[in-house]
């Protein structure tokens, strides 16, 4: 992503190359690894949404909301509308998440920083309460779902794990490419400017509010997409998908990955899934504790290495290198991120 040599075509080639390599590697991978990677990538899509929103000036603690909307849409469509096809359910789940976000965007885009973050948390917890208490949505037990056809074709028995892996990898690569292109577009650059200084963006004639709203809807689309894929891979949806614990993991991976590289998001997501599969063996009851402690360590000691979330922001840049003494820290030049 660094340097001026970015073209959409070159990024597309890179994304296609990565997807192809992963798909071929997947042919040789054992079943459990395929499932782990499917989970990692589908969650990674939701994290990509968090990263995109962070880059556009909004911190979110409620990404799980759109993750759950996507997942529940994929789970409910077969009964509600008779749609069995996975491709259609993925599209519908993604759009449903985007639609809900578009409804709330005008209200949320008036806020920034902590207010924005807490409102997203609040919305997701309201949805959690609604789903948990709703009998039609399966209550706190959730709903099980079948996979169905893919673009009209029945999936051969025994290959469904691989097909789903393939679907997730291809979708992730496509979404990752789209996000990179967006980041290099005029709208993406405005979003980045909103994060740095919203007031200045307004003076320059662009609407910071509209930009933040767009970032919010885009991040919701990614969250919904990740949710549908997760639901199809798991075969089950539950209200926990919109609980703060889920959103917290998305934020965690986003902080881990930083907000400059799409690839880093998926790498960090795979890392978390690997650690999670071991954690069930070694520390089953202290998962949140481990997450929180590691998050603190990253924030304290590697704010630029893993996170690099706070260096490239105008006001924060001056204060970032010297956390202890309040004295005048040398202002670092803002790093260009594109």
């Amino acid at each position: 992503m660094a340097g001026g040599g970015f073209t959409a075509g070159r990024a597309l080639a890179a994304a296609a190359g990565l997807a192809l390599a992963l798909s071929l590697a997947g042919l040789a991978a054992p079943q459990w690894l395929l499932f782990l990677l499917t989970m990692a990538f589908s969650h990674g899509l939701a994290v990509l949404g968090v990263v995109l929103l962070t880059r556009g000036g909004g911190a979110t603690f409620g990404q799980g909301m759109f993750f759950a909307i996507g997942a529940y849409a994929a789970a409910l469509l077969p009964q509600a509308a008779g749609i069995q096809d996975m491709a259609l359910r993925i599209v519908a789940g993604t759009l449903a998440a985007g639609l809900v976000a578009a409804v709330f965007a005008p209200l949320l885009a008036r806020y920034r920083g902590i207010f924005f973050a807490m409102l997203t948390l609040a919305l997701s917890m309201v949805l959690f309460g609604l789903i948990s208490k709703s009998n039609a949505l399966g209550g706190s037990d959730g709903i099980s779902l079948a996979r169905g056809t893919l673009a009209g074709f029945a999936i051969p028995a025994g290959r469904s794990e691989y097909m789903l892996f393939l679907l997730t990898v291809v979708t992730s690569a496509a979404a990752g490419w789209a996000v990179v292109v967006y980041w290099h577009s005029a709208a993406g650059l405005v979003a980045q400017a909103v994060r740095a200084n919203a007031l200045r963006v307004e003076y320059l004639g662009a609407s910071a509010r509209a930009s933040l709203g767009i970032s919010f809807v885009l991040s919701a689309l990614l969250g919904g997409l990740g949710g549908t894929l997760t639901a199809l891979a798991l075969g089950h949806v539950e209200p926990n998908m919109t609980n703060w614990t889920t959103s917290g993991e998305f934020v965690f991976v986003a902080v881990l990955a930083g907000y400059r590289s799409v690839v880093a998001v998926f790498v960090a997501s795979v890392l978390l899934e690997v650690v999670r599969s071991f954690s069930n063996l070694y520390f089953p009851n202290t998962w949140q504790l481990a997450l929180g402690a590691f998050l603190l360590l990253v924030i304290l000691f590697r704010p630029d290495g893993l996170g690099s979330l706070w260096l490239a922001r105008g006001r924060g840049a001056a204060a970032a290198p010297a956390p202890a003494a309040g004295g005048a820290a040398p202002a670092k030049p803002t790093e260009a991120a594109g």
Partner: protein, 296 residues
């Protein structure tokens, strides 16, 4: 019906006000929106459950259970407040407020598991303090004496906080730090100490709210997130950093919740946020505009 809703609303608002007061105090002085506030509330509830059980096992007079709850809250605040503020939060002053939000979020995650490790996942029930106050009749209604005590407690907390801030030298110093920490420091105010004190006071209010609601609820995991979500709504409705705002916000939330519990129980949390959204539509900074919420 209307009377029942009103009584429920006021009871709910009373402890919610105590907790939200702590949240708004910490935000006002330190500019931190502390997500771990709910965790400290839960800590207070758990500590109270344990202390009341200990007092009961000593066979002291039941009135001592109240003292036990108070001491539990004070103990939690005395340990958690200075520890978190000095060792952790102090490293981040002057940094971006979203970064601080992430730090308190990490704390929240950790405290959630630490409470589970310390107290397990089974619910605790504290009934002794409830029996202490009995019931009495008011017209056709039977009221729990404990609820009245909660209302009195909330009033005392509110008035005391207001009086300390506005009628004492310490309070004037705190207000000076709120308005301009640098100028206060140059006038010889120990700003660090004010921060530690204010944070600990906020933690005490959170733990106090937790300790005195322990008899009303089953103390179990999940308590913390529900409290932070609701008390956040309170301070947003009232306006962050405002004491009267917290009181009004708590009453509004209490009314919305009580009405929905009695009329449409499915939308309990939803109703609170509906009210919040309505307030925000017309007054984006909350009813009492102490700080600017809008940045765009």
């Amino acid at each position: 019906m209307a009377f029942t809703i009103l009584v429920d609303a006021i009871t709910y608002a009373s402890w919610l006000f105590v907790v939200s007061l702590g949240l708004t105090l910490v935000f006002g002085v330190l500019k931190i929106l502390n997500i771990a506030h709910g965790s400290v509330y839960a800590l207070g509830a758990y500590a109270a459950a344990s202390c009341v059980a200990v007092v009961a096992s000593w066979k002291l007079a039941p009135a001592f259970s109240l003292v036990a709850m108070l001491l539990a809250a004070a103990g939690v605040a005395a340990v958690v407040g200075p520890l978190l503020e000095r060792t952790l939060l102090a490293r981040f002053y002057g940094r971006d407020e979203v970064l601080l939000l992430l730090v308190t979020y990490a704390l929240f995650l950790m405290l959630e598991d630490l409470t589970k490790l310390a107290w397990g996942v089974h619910p605790y029930f504290v009934s002794e303090p409830l029996q202490l106050f009995g019931n009495f009749a008011l017209g056709p209604m039977r009221l729990a004496g404990y609820d009245l005590m909660l209302v009195a407690l909330a009033a005392v907390c509110g008035v005391l906080t207001w009086a300390v801030l506005n009628r004492t030298t310490v309070g004037k110093i705190v207000l000076a730090v709120i308005h301009n920490p640098e100028m206060s420091a140059s006038m010889g105010v120990n700003v660090q100490r004010v921060y530690t004190g204010a944070f600990t006071a906020g933690m005490f209010l959170a733990a106090l709210g937790g300790a005195f609601t322990a008899p009303l609820v089953s103390v179990q995991p999940g308590l913390s997130v529900s409290v932070i979500v609701v008390s956040f709504a309170v301070v947003i409705i009232g306006g962050l950093g405002s004491i009267p705002g917290a009181a009004i916000g708590a009453l509004v939330v209490g009314l919305a919740r009580a009405a929905s519990v009695h009329l449409m129980p499915e939308i309990e949390l939803f109703s609170i946020y509906l009210v919040m959204a309505a307030v925000l539509m017309f007054r984006p900074e909350g009813l009492f505009q102490a700080v600017k919420a809008r940045l765009i």
